[in-house]
Amino acid sequence: MAEVPDAEEAAAPEEGGRDEPETRYGVPVTHSRGQVVLHPTREQLVDLVRMLRDDEDFRVCVDVTAVDYLTYEAHRDLPPGMTGERFEVVVNLLSHRRRERLRLRVQVPADDPTCPSLFDVHPGTEAMEREVYDMFGITFTGHPDMSRILMPEDWEGHPLRKDYPVGMIPVQFKGVQNAR
């Protein structure tokens, strides 16, 4: 599903030769199982999403999530010239009128885990960005309420990071500093 028949068509103006990387809306494109994936930089993200919303009718931001590629050893499908960072913020956009989906993958380095917030463009990303912050420790600049959402307030660490162990977490008790 989510097939995009006119992917080649949209890329046609940029066509210069086979080695030329494919771009769409000025951003490198890859295809994953027939789904279109854009690879903007962090700086391009908000303007690109706003442009897609206003001019290209991608009016719904369906999902915001992230992936921690710390222990990933297989080949990452990135456009040529783009280096894979540890984190990747993944944004799924949907156009009702065109019945199309777009996926945006944004590289976020480990030493500066921040990403511009999409809240101003799509207010519906509020909870999803909080979840990404909670689970991965990626801060969204410009988000109105960057706090934990699923884990307790005083939790240490970000559980979906790959260096966060699965088991053997000490049981945490709240508010009991010195019981006796």
Binding site: Q35, V37, A127, P144, L150, L160
Partner: protein
């Protein structure tokens, strides 16, 4: 903050006092991001301080009978009018996405089915579809498996909406509706038990097909339930739709416009209640939904009554789909005959060493899935249910993310509640129909 305050407070997840709320937050609470005019925004931003002191913050939940599990809402009230709302969630968080990273693809459906416990088959379906897309076998799934999946999903949609009708009635004091809703839901669950072996958390839809073929006599059992539920829906309409109390409690309550619903990412009956005919079964068909006839029910007002009526009508549409499935159910395999994904049949294990080894390997190591990433979405009773899978070529997902419709739909609550009465809050929460297992995952 005093010592007792810090002991009982959960911290910054909670709603702050109004005097601490910045102008930007005040604008947000009234939906400035969506549609406030400049003049209104300026007026709101400098509310006189004495007016701000007139409000009270009330905690609703997490242990509250009408918050559908452990949803906690912090409401700021001015008299009986709700000004601000903040949902505080996470009380049911069990790290299922993290768990999904240690379970193989064969085991994954067992995990995801427990997220949205009112419509477990959809969770299994979306995980299976995503895995099959990564494997590249999505077009090779046998016809019969596709139709069995559709049959189960529509039966599950019926049971989920019947559950909504029951709880919606319960929340609003229509206790007889609660009893009727549970009664009919039980019939569909019994049917699902007959087919899958379990009432809930079936783990029946698996990558490659379904776990077993339909049992003998399934057709009669399905027909019996359809014939039983159909006239009862008419009874509900007589009982509820014409009832002045019911209409008064729901009509014009919790109104949301199409623009707001789209901006907030709402899907499912909430979006359709605003008049947007968006149903993934129709717009981006998966399984064999393009081969059956059904209507997409939309509302006009975006209020609680529309959301109730849409779900009631969707039960009818689902029953129509099920009747068509009964006519069209093809013969054939119920799972893909790809030895890479499907274990050998039980009879082969007794006579063949290789089959035994194969079976053992498949259930201990699992099958390897080529590297890549994929996002697949289906229309669950609550909206768009998505699954984002990243594979590194091993037999365990590198990352498994479920986009739960309830999680996103909850964001519409502050918007729908603002300016309403506290007595209506229960009606609005109920009309969003959140399943906390899916919200917190």
């Amino acid at each position: 903050m005093t010592a007792t305050e810090s002991y009982f407070s959960e911290g910054t997840q909670e709603m702050g006092p109004r005097k601490g709320a910045s102008a930007a937050e005040l604008l947000r609470e009234s939906g400035a991001v969506l549609r406030l005019s400049e003049a209104e925004a300026a007026r709101l931003a400098d509310l006189p301080p004495e007016e701000q002191e007139q409000t009270m913050i009330l905690n609703m939940g997490p242990q509250h009978p009408s918050t559908h599990g452990v949803l906690r809402l912090m409401l700021e009230l001015e008299g009986e009018t709700i000004l601000r709302t903040k949902p505080v969630i996470g009380y049911l968080h069990t790290g299922m996405e993290k768990t999904g990273e240690v379970l193989t693809y064969a085991q994954g459906a067992t995990n995801t089915t427990r997220m949205d416990y009112a419509s477990p088959l959809f969770n299994e379906l979306v995980f299976s579809l995503a895995t099959e897309t990564l494997l590249g076998i999505q077009d090779d799934i046998p016809e019969r498996a596709q139709w069995i999946r559709m049959l189960l999903c529509e039966l599950n949609r019926m049971s989920s909406h019947l559950l909504f009708l029951a709880t919606n009635g319960m929340d609003l004091g229509a206790v007889s509706m609660m009893i009727y809703g549970w009664r009919e839901r039980e019939e569909t669950l019994r049917l699902l038990e007959m087919i899958t072996g379990l009432r809930m958390n079936h783990n029946f839809i698996r990558p490659g097909g379904v776990a077993a073929d339909l049992p003998d006599g399934w057709r009669d059992a399905v027909l019996r339930v359809l014939d039983l539920v159909e006239p009862r829906l008419d009874e509900y309409e007589v009982l509820m739709n014409g009832q002045p109390i019911w209409r008064e409690r729901l009509q014009g309550v919790g109104v949301i416009t199409a623009e707001e619903a789209i901006a907030l990412g709402a899907t499912g009956p909430i979006l359709r209640s605003t008049g947007v005919p968006w149903d993934l079964r129709k717009e981006q068909p998966y399984l064999r939904y393009d081969e059956v006839e059904f209507g997409v029910v939309v509302g006009a007002h975006g209020d609680c009554f529309d959301r109730y009526a849409i779900r009631l009508a969707e039960v009818r549409e689902s029953m129509g789909i099920v009747r068509q499935i009964l006519d069209k159910m093809p013969k054939g395999d119920y799972r893909i005959q790809d030895r890479k994904v499907t274990p050998p049949p039980r009879a082969r294990i007794d006579e063949s060493m290789e089959a035994l080894i194969h079976h053992f390997k498949l259930f201990t190591e699992g099958f390897k899935v080529p590297e890549g990433e994929v996002y697949v979405a289906v229309e669950s009773p609550r909206g768009e249910l998505g699954c984002y899978l990243v594979s590194d070529g091993s037999s365990v997902p590198y990352r498994m993310h479920i986009r739960g419709p309830s999680f996103v739909n909850l964001q519409t609550l502050p918007h729908m509640l603002r300016g309403g009465m506290i007595a209506d809050a229960v009606a609005v929460i109920s009309s969003v129909d959140p399943i906390m297992g899916e919200v917190d995952r």
